[in-house]
């Protein structure tokens, strides 16, 4: 049964045949094609999918914010049975509202929270100044900001990241919208804050009877708060259903693959069940060459000992002297050969700084790092660093900035192979590309011809070309889609098994650690607060900080055997 005119008794949001296209008419590229979405009052409907699936375009269209020459059409867009009228300036903000991803940019830094909230409710609801201020305070209290009366007059920079996102939510909900679009509302936040913000969104939607579209790539968020979910792929909705049913027994093969790629936090899989695009091909010459790496003294591939790094922040001109922050504070650990050691922590915990010191890219202030018996401390001369870094390679987070955009893949991968004759190198590069699951004939292309996942494979090939014994991976998959993440993690695991690499894996993503690491260290404000075998740390955490991190992990329902 489908009513063409929105005069039915349905309440909440009803969208039929939504299509969004970008580009000029004539050669417009559809981003969303004929998607139907419903959201009842108080219901949270998740729109999930990987980048490029069109999920953000749905939100943009429902806010009528598609930039020309892009445009959108729909057979029906109704809210409580009435067609949404985008011609009045009151629709957006009052009836349909939005929670943005990044609380750093969603608020105007030049105005107080009060003036932003007051402007919003006065414009849309026509309240007088006093009533508007009361409403502003009431909203801050509702989103859980303590001491709202005092804080309403503050500027955005006076709030922490999590508190700022609460302010963004207060702003979105100030006019009691009937539909809220939350576009990746927690992607910019730390794990411990993420869960609180999601819970807040759920509570407010329930209490106020708002329909909510939760646009996200984060399956944890979907599992935690959504009632129903729409799985998007290439602009089409491939499957729609109750969240619990989708997570435990999705019908469509794509939904199943997407869910299988999500690393579970509560048990360890031998491998991710994702189809490996371009299975790794091994080449006899390459394998010999990779294993023929210069042997060095020392059995410990990588160790750090009481490593410390202090950042001095500039003091005020007239005031107290310079302040110092201990970014890395007397951290010690050692990797065993062939071991994957995970280092987890929230942003600012010092884990990336530690990785860069271990890689010999920054100087420590105290303590030392050792790679294959070579030492690196505060007094190591710069000239000795090149020797220290031998046998060590790194894979970085952002596959866009980690490849020189002016160099071809071939030049990039040849660079660490300086000790190998060029003719041999030219023969090995195609084999190396195949080794990491890329076609062998792409060597002459520039990075812009590749997707994020492919670039990360190129970066891994470059790291392998240095014939490392130690690989430091700094958030190697956090810029990637979940199915690509699963492939890259599988690849890294295989390389460890086949080449006996030792890996230091830096990440904020606990489920990834559980899947990948043999041992794990937990960092908080520069200190290593807990270290132990992965299973033990996850099942019986000792430090209270670790316990806190683990309680915020989303739990996905266990998959039922496919029927």
């Amino acid at each position: 049964m489908r009513s063409i005119h929105g005069a039915s008794e349905t309440s909440g949001l009803r969208v039929r045949g939504l299509t969004v296209s970008y580009g000029r008419r004539g050669h417009a590229v559809p981003a969303v094609e004929a998607v139907d979405v419903d959201a009842a009052p108080g219901e949270i409907v998740a729109i999930v999918g990987e980048s490029g699936a069109g999920k953000t375009s749905i939100g943009t269209a429902l806010l009528d914010l598609v930039d020309p020459p892009g445009h959108w059409t729909a057979r029906e867009v109704t809210l409580d049975g009435e067609t949404i009228d985008y011609r009045t300036t009151h629709t957006r903000g009052r009836d349909v509202s939005v929670i943005f991803q990044d609380p750093q940019t969603a608020l105007n830094p030049l105005f107080t929270v009060e003036s932003q909230l007051v402007h919003m409710v006065r414009h849309h609801l026509g309240l007088d100044r006093g009533a508007a201020k009361r409403r502003a305070i009431e909203m801050l209290e509702e989103v859980g900001i303590p001491d709202a009366v005092a804080r309403v007059g503050q500027y955005p920079h006076q709030f922490s990241g999590g508190m700022r996102q609460r302010v963004v939510i207060a702003l979105a909900l100030a006019c009691r919208p009937r539909l809220v679009i939350a576009d990746e509302p927690t992607s910019a936040l730390d794990v411990s804050i993420r869960a609180q913000i999601l819970a807040l969104i759920r509570r407010l939607c329930r209490e106020k009877g708002m329909a909510c579209l939760l646009i996200t790539h984060d399956m944890g968020a979907v599992a935690q708060i959504s009632d129903r979910a729409v799985v998007m792929r290439d602009g089409r909705a491939v499957e729609t259903g109750p969240t619990t049913r989708l997570l435990s027994g999705a019908q469509h093969p794509y939904s199943r693959a997407l869910i299988a790629a999500v690393p579970p936090a509560h048990r360890r899989l031998p491998r991710f069940a994702v189809p490996d695009t371009g299975a790794a091909v091994t080449d006899a010459e390459l394998e010999r060459w990779l294993r023929d790496r210069p042997t060095a003294g020392g059995d410990t591939p990588l160790a750090v000992d009481e490593l410390t790094k202090v950042f001095r922040l500039p003091g005020r001109l007239f005031g107290r002297g310079a302040r110092a922050v201990r970014a890395v504070d007397a951290v010690s650990f050692a990797l065993a050969p062939g071991e994957i050691f995970g280092l987890v922590g929230e942003s600012g915990s010092g884990k990336s700084t530690l990785a860069q010191i271990a890689a010999g890219l920054r100087w420590p202030d105290a303590g030392e790092a050792r790679v294959l018996g070579r030492r690196f401390g505060p007094t190591t001369p710069k000239a000795a660093l090149r020797g220290y870094r031998q046998g060590l390679q790194m894979v970085f987070q952002d596959p866009y900035s980690s490849l020189n955009r002016r160099m071809t893949v071939l030049e990039t991968i040849l660079e660490p192979m300086a000790d190998t004759p060029r003719a041999v190198g030219l023969r090995l590069v195609p084999a190396l590309l195949e080794r990491v699951g890329l076609p062998r004939d792409v060597a002459r292309r520039h990075p812009h011809a590749f997707s994020g996942g492919q670039r990360q494979r190129i970066a891994i090939a470059r790291a392998l070309a240095g014939r490392p014994r130690v690989l430091i991976c700094d958030e190697p998959t956090s810029a990637l889609d979940v199915s690509i993440q699963a492939q890259i993690l599988n690849l890294l695991k295989d390389l460890r098994d086949e080449l006996g690499l030792s890996m230091l894996l830096i990440t904020h993503d606990l489920p990834v650690v559980r899947q990948m690491c043999d041992r794990v260290g937990v960092m908080q404000s520069g200190r290593l607060v807990e270290m132990g075998p992965t299973e033990r740390v996850f099942d019986a955490p000792e430090a209270s900080y670790t316990q806190m991190l683990l309680t915020h992990l989303p739990r996905l329902p266990e998959r039922q055997p496919a029927s």
């Binding site: 660079e415 660490p416 470059r462």
Partner: protein
């Protein structure tokens, strides 16, 4: 564009789609080529003193009454062919312009790379030096340089070194722009992960700068160089017009304008107007092309 710069392929397509780019570059190219070919295409040799006579002096352009078909744009007070003088004068102007741009771009890029990559005291010294130069008017520094050169060089050699002095005077002003831009760009590039990867590949500072950072900071250098070519030609003309640039024995466009200007009120307008028009056309076409190039190479203008 050469492979090193590896301008994205779209620049070619953008060029063909832009009438502004095509017309301005065509005009600039014609002017530059005709200056280069002056010895072969100029109807007369303005430096062969014996070849012109006072009989032919102050002849108007060929289309005016009394014009002589041997002298298309007329002659000056000494009977010299204005068209030939312009072609040769443009040679001098462009020589000074290109040389000044080449020197200032090379020095500025090098200083910018080193300042941005090394940081510390070297960065501070180079950038404060640039600040000091920027706080003086361009023309003042150029006058200062040519004044000092005049004081140092013996009178007999001054004309021989006039070109070098001019080039130096202009280059000293202009390297600061390259240095500041390249330094900023270098700071950005040096913080990117590919530079760390290059270090882990065993590359030293020099090779990282040359192989990785330099190609990535070159697009703004090309844009500034194009626009500065026009500025350098103008600066040369200004100095020569003021009498501290090229001497009358090796006239540039600016010298020609100065000489012509002295006779303007006696009605011999063509001696000043045609060199001036040539200068305007040259500067305008190079500027318009530089403008377009800046937009085309700017990744944000996509």
């Amino acid at each position: 564009m050469s492979a090193v710069l590896s301008a994205p392929p779209r620049v070619g397509a953008l060029f063909l789609a832009s009438p502004k780019a095509m017309i301005s570059s065509a005009v600039a190219l014609i002017l530059i080529l005709s200056a280069l070919c002056a010895p072969w295409i100029a109807p007369h040799d303005p430096f062969a003193l014996g070849s012109f006579s006072l009989m032919d002096s102050e002849l108007p352009p060929v289309w005016s009454e009394g014009g002589d078909p041997r002298f298309l744009l007329g002659t000056d007070t000494q009977g010299r062919d204005v068209l030939s003088a312009i072609l040769y004068g443009m040679r001098v102007s462009l020589l000074v312009g290109f040389a000044a741009v080449a020197i200032s771009a090379a020095v500025g890029t090098l200083f910018g790379l080193v300042a941005g990559f090394r940081g510390g005291w070297l960065d501070a010294v180079l950038m404060r030096l640039a600040d000091v130069i920027l706080s003086f008017p361009t023309i003042l520094i150029a006058l200062l340089v040519s004044g000092i050169a005049r004081g140092l060089l013996p009178d007999t050699r001054q004309e021989d070194y006039a070109v070098l002095v001019l080039i130096l005077a202009i280059a000293i002003n202009e390297w600061t722009q390259y240095a500041r831009t390249v330094r900023g760009q270098t700071l950005v590039e040096a913080s990117l992960d590919y530079v760390k990867a290059a270090r882990l590949s065993g590359l030293g500072d020099g090779r990282i700068l040359a192989r990785h950072i330099l190609p990535n900071v070159l697009s703004p250098v090309i844009v500034i160089a194009t626009i500065n070519l026009a500025l350098a030609v103008l600066a040369e003309a200004t100095l020569s017009f003021l009498g501290v640039g090229m001497p009358a024995t090796q006239p540039s466009l600016g010298t020609l304008i100065r000489i012509g200007n002295e006779n303007l009120f006696s009605g011999v307008w063509w001696v000043v107007v045609f060199p001036a028009l040539t200068l305007v056309l040259l500067v305008l076409s190079v500027n318009l092309f530089g403008d377009w190039l800046r937009d085309a190479l700017n990744p944000r203008s996509e």
